[in-house]
Amino acid sequence: MRSRISSKFRSLKEQNRKAFIAYIMAGDPNISRTREMVRILEDCGVDIIELGVPFSDPLADGPAIQAAAQRALEGGTTLHTVIELVADLRKTTKIPIILMTYYNPIFKYDEEKFIEDACASGVDGIIVPDLPPDEAEGMLKLTKKRPFDVIFLLAPTSTEDRIEKVSKASRGFIYYVSITGITGSKLALDPAIETHMNRIRSVSDTPIAVGFGIATPDEASVVARFADGVIVGSAIVKKVNAPDEEMRTYLLFPA
């Protein structure tokens, strides 16, 4: 059974378009704002939503998303409340939703129960930066027959062996981290990035989405030249409390 994420990439490809993937932190500053944000993002043509689940020790995240996680945690957002939020969102939207969190909240929740509950609520996939494929046997087994994608990450420092392993294990898409750094860093594209893309494509047909440090429409269009999708996180998270008009103007440019 094809996941909503794979279906989305497939239909975008037919239209010769690239995926716009937007990251927001669930519960920042509260759940009802997240609900509104999802509506705004969808209205503005976002293709896939990545919902951050706040964690106390977010090792891959920069200051903007760390602060967002802190606000969400202070508001009482947990993995449980995010799963409930998705179940609620599913009453009104079919947009693919991916959760991005770290392994300990899932481990504490119980991996099997988490997959069960996430699938039942309408979550389409998960990104866990501290769970490399080598350690993800359990999660891959649990999701094998479900339309639920476990998405793994590659970076400019990934070796040939890693590229092959991660590209083959990742489902839905391959998350290519554009820089050797944390989310929200200044984008400095490695000239080797296109070579890397070709290498990934030689071992896998899975779409590639590039994220970390993409903040401006110009940066997004550069990345969209060689990637199948562009992920924007910190830049949107920073605007979470901006007036809706400002958010819409930012998201719709250049469309």
Binding site: F55, S56, N104, F107
Partner: protein, 117 residues
């Protein structure tokens, strides 16, 4: 499961890591090395704890009686030894591993005690 290790962890019901405090910077961490978790579970090692005050008292005692300044981390082990010793007979031997030296902690301890050095 934190920073790539599976071990005992101070966490809340949702898996968020709790804040920690210790007078000794080296112990101010929400988890223990996974090897310790294994040794505890296998029953080969019994683990104890000491409070900041007990560790500071042990730091003071060894420095004054032996002229050896123990690291604040190791001072926790000394505190346990000092509590254990009166329960043992005179012939029994206790070995304490002083894993680090306390020169690095002298300024810190002076500040806590309000001593000018």
């Amino acid at each position: 499961m934190l920073q790539g290790t599976k071990s005992y962890l101070l966490q809340d019901d949702d898996g968020n890591v709790l804040g920690t405090h210790s007078v000794s910077a080296g112990l101010d961490y929400a988890a223990v090395g996974p090897e310790h978790a294994f040794l505890r579970d296998s029953g080969r090692v019994q683990y104890a704890y000491a409070t900041d005050d007990e560790a500071l008292a042990a730091f003071d005692r060894l420095s004054r009686t032996e002229g050896i300044i123990p690291a604040l981390e190791s001072s926790h082990a000394l505190a346990e030894a000092m509590m254990l010793a009166p329960k043992l007979s005179k012939d029994e031997i206790i070995v304490v591993n002083l894993s680090g030296r306390g020169d690095k902690d002298v300024q810190h301890v002076a500040r806590i005690k309000g001593v000018q050095i």
